[in-house]
């Protein structure tokens, strides 16, 4: 039964995925002017024949629905077009940048969980204590702070003033890392390069905090409120009255059930991680997908922007799908 439900949920994603592609297809048609002029950007001098060739290549001489069909067909084949600024296929460019972005997102997610889980639990157990108030104030600040400003303040504090952490990039120049997977932490572990490991971890800290702060804030708040709920429930009272030790009441009985709504929220935060990604990568000059898109915007490199926005949206849809499926395993009472 569950397998059928999950399959249904997966099938329901397909029209969404196509819808996303269609919306992105119409993005470029929002721009006033001839797509060929736009795609060529300020490049200027190209001959009439070349324009005609481009027109054919992009199927701009075809009617709109044919263009849409060809666009979707290519996208399904993994062909997202060609960047005329960087002179390479969009898919290749994205694939090259993806490891850096994923590494940063994972860093942010891990960091926010490490911060938010203990805070959420302790705040609920010691409700209305000064610790609870302080952490909830911190959480409030976390959702009210623009990521770009937090990043700059962290740089001012830890890099400029205290000179503890690097300002930008992924690795210091002296770290001679032999790249294998593109995940620098993993690569330095695989090659046993201790200098590179330390350097890449150091470079990860500030961007991860910046990207993870709002996520940590939301997780801590949700975990706290669902912990408050479970701590008041009958089965917790029963466990207490049976004489179960307090830590087991909190960690086993209350926390396990409180984690169910928290997982959903963590899944939804993927949206924040993806959106914040462009900002944080720009602030820290992190060579990932986000900073590439931002420079593509200024180069008016539309195929690249189009392809990247599509990848972001797909990731988001997939993350939501995974969370929904995970949810059924955590809470068998709930069906999709």
């Amino acid at each position: 039964m569950r397998a059928v439900k999950i399959l249904e949920r997966i099938l329901a994603t397909i029209p969404i995925v196509f819808g996303v592609a269609i919306v992105v297809f119409f993005f470029i048609r929002l721009t006033p002017g001839d797509p060929v002029d736009i795609m060529m950007g300020q490049g200027g001098a190209i001959s009439e024949g070349e324009i005609e060739r481009l027109r054919q290549e992009f199927h701009l001489d075809e009617p709109l629905h044919v263009q849409l069909w060809l666009f979707l067909r290519d996208a399904v084949r993994g062909d997202l077009g060609y960047s005329y600024v960087l002179k390479r296929p969009v898919t290749t460019l994205i694939a090259e940048r993806l490891p850096a972005t994923i590494e940063l997102a994972l860093g942010a997610l891990i960091l926010s969980l490490v911060i938010a889980l203990p805070i959420g639990i302790v705040s609920a157990v010691r409700q209305n204590s000064s610790l609870d108030r302080l952490s909830m104030a911190g959480a409030f600040l976390g959702i009210s702070m623009p990521a770009f400003w937090l990043g700059i303040i962290l740089i001012l504090l830890f890099s400029v003033r205290l000179k503890l952490l690097p300002v930008q990039g992924r690795l210091s120049f002296d770290a001679n890392l032999q790249e294998m997977t593109g995940f620098f932490v993993l690569d330095s572990l695989l090659t046993g390069n201790r200098v590179a490991l330390l350097s890449s971890l150091k470079h990860l800290i500030l961007p991860s905090i910046t990207l993870g702060a709002p996520v940590a804030a939301v997780i801590a708040r949700v975990l706290r409120s669902s912990m408050l709920e479970t701590l008041r429930s009958d089965y917790v009272t029963l466990a207490r009255s049976k004489g179960a030790p307090e830590w087991s009441v909190v960690m086993k009985h209350a926390l396990r059930n409180a984690l169910i709504p928290t997982v959903t929220v963590v899944g939804l935060q993927v949206g924040i991680l993806l959106g914040g990604n462009m900002i944080v990568e720009t602030v820290f000059s992190w060579p990932g997908l986000g900073s590439m898109v931002v420079s593509a915007i200024f180069d008016r490199d539309f195929p690249l922007i189009q392809g990247s926005v599509m990848i972001y949206a797909f990731t988001f849809v997939m993350a939501n799908l995974i969370v929904d499926v995970l949810y059924t395993y955590l809470n068998p009472k709930i069906s999709l």
């Binding site: 969404i16 995925v17 819808g19 996303v20 919306v23 992105v24 993005f27 470029i28 929002l30 721009t31 409030f140 600040l141 959702i143 009210s144 702070m145 623009p146 990521a147 770009f148 400003w149 700059i152 303040i153 740089i155 001012l156 400029v160 708040r221 706290r224 409120s225 408050l228 709920e229 993927v270 949206g271 924040i272 993806l274 959106g275 914040g276 462009m278 900002i279 720009t282 602030v283 898109v293 931002v294 915007i297 200024f298 539309f302 922007i305 926005v309 972001y312 949206a313 988001f316 849809v317």
Partner: protein, 318 residues
Amino acid sequence: MRQLPDLEIAPGALSPLARQQYLWRIRLGLIQRNSSEFLRELRKHPLALLSGVVIVVYILAAILAEQITAHDPGRGNLRLRLDPPAWQAEGSWEYPLGTDAQGRDLLTRIIYGARVSLAVGLLSVGVSVVIGLVLGALAGYFRGRLDSLVSRFADLLLAFPFLIFAIGVMAFLGPGFTNLILALTFKGWVEFYRLVRGEMLSEKTQEYVEAARVTGQSHSAIIVQEILPNIINSVFVLATLRIGYMIIMEASLSFLGLGIPPRIPAWGSMVSAGRDYMLVAWWVSTFPGLAIVILVLAINLFGEGLRDILDPRLKVDG
């Protein structure tokens, strides 16, 4: 339950005009009572009250910018480039928060920047509320083809993370105030739509709606006069909380150079401009960002207070 104060007893048969007058007297009485009760409740939420004051200060500063500050936000004095804030050794009270790289007074630009942030926040949420409310009410009340069509479209927009979508749209439309509002509302209405539609679906089955239908009221009267007053509080609370979010969105887009054109002072682009001088002038980026944090924090705290007062069902830790 406090006892209901002296609302008049309903008169019998009346002329249509007298009936309307009677209804309006009751409505005004209720509004009066609700607002005085609201103010009484607000006093029990000191943080929300303080936040309300902060928001009013920002709004006044934005409106009265010309009167408050003597400096021109656009014209700088190149001899005074990157002057530090007043309390630092080389600072002067002429430029309390220091100057930027063009020698322009930072405080003046922050005050003028409040205009952009507040205008974008209020306008984008306002338009989103109107669209979401109308579509949500119609879809939730009548269901049918409109509902499935709009709901599908809303689901589709939800497949994009908000900032990514806004960046995508702005990348193609180009910077500018109107484009910004367009990009933000293009997705912003979805949340209001979902809220109103959901509430509509559940309110529709209530007895008072049934009763109104039996008395022969038209659909539009039932939606506007009977149901809307019951759900408008939730919409209002969500709208307040979304204003803070939209302000952060605007600032983020302006930071990337995709929001407001650089000649108009906006907090996001000011923070961005200050990045180049981070090593020598920390204040240029710090203060405009602080202005965002304080305003958004105030809006969020005020919104939470509003929620506790107006919509206790939604309270997080019951």
